[in-house]
Symmetry: C2
Subunit: 160 residues, 2 copies
């Protein structure tokens, strides 16, 4: 199966991964959440070729994750902003940051600190259940196929 | 900058993405959380070449995310299991699934349903603050560089 066929798979992670499963794309999105918006700034931070950056931005635009917005009339200049769909990637990037902070920080600690304005503390994230609000632990989660979903491969032992 | 240099960047997302930023890797990890453990089963589900699958499994082993474990003596057969570090990717895969379920499901709904055994309901995930337990919203989060962290690019407008 080729990468572009992955988006047709019967799996939400496979479909999302066909768009997001790229190191530049994930890092670029993380920069978006830090307020970066302009092509030159992305390029400077990612130290990546214009071609690579252009292709990643284009894909994110095509999927409605980023949208171009004009910030100057003469000459016309554009910046990239997260759409609502893009903003909803905040939990994904945020949990990735929490994991990366734990396993890939230098001795001096995480390069970026995040503060929760509501409580005033620097934080990490955890995930909770939409129904009861309790923290979600892998051992408490059970996965099953949607009924009448014959095209999805069997999930026999699925904990998640 | 090349992909393998991304891991040296001063950014936890960049470092994590150097390992995880690949569509097969993310989908494979999602399968691990569904209980898949054996090479042939991964290959059948991902419909990917042995070479591609072998390289992804090897990288995950090198990073201590998966570990091989022998399940048969004669002939010797191995399966792949998530390590503690691997299991801690549960929030990342879980939030990615929540986002994918919302934006890439078929009309019939998400292909996989997840039940929280503690409360008995099918759920989606949200992220919460490690310090106060409140749901984390993008607008309430403020990012700053760690003090004395001169090699990280400036974060000027960072909301996250």
């Amino acid at each position: 199966m080729k990468r572009d066929q992955l988006g047709n798979q019967q799996c939400s992670v496979a479909r999302s991964s066909a768009v997001l499963g790229d190191p530049w794309t994930l890092t670029l999105l993380s920069d978006c959440f830090l307020g970066v918006r302009r092509f030159e700034e992305f390029q400077e931070r990612l130290k990546v070729s214009r071609t690579t950056l252009t292709s990643r931005l284009k894909l994110l635009e095509e999927h409605g994750i980023l949208v171009q917005s004009q910030y100057e009339q003469k000459p016309p200049r554009f910046e990239y902003r997260l759409t609502q769909k893009g903003k909803e990637l905040f939990p994904v990037i945020s949990t990735l940051l929490t994991w990366g902070d734990k396993y890939y920080s230098d001795q001096a600690g995480p390069p970026i600190l995040r503060r929760h304005k509501k409580c005033g503390h620097d934080f990490q994230t955890y995930i909770a259940c939409s129904e009861c609000g309790e923290p979600l632990e892998l051992k408490d989660v059970e996965a099953r196929k949607r009924p009448h979903n014959d095209s999805y491969p069997a999930v026999e032992r699925g904990p998640m």
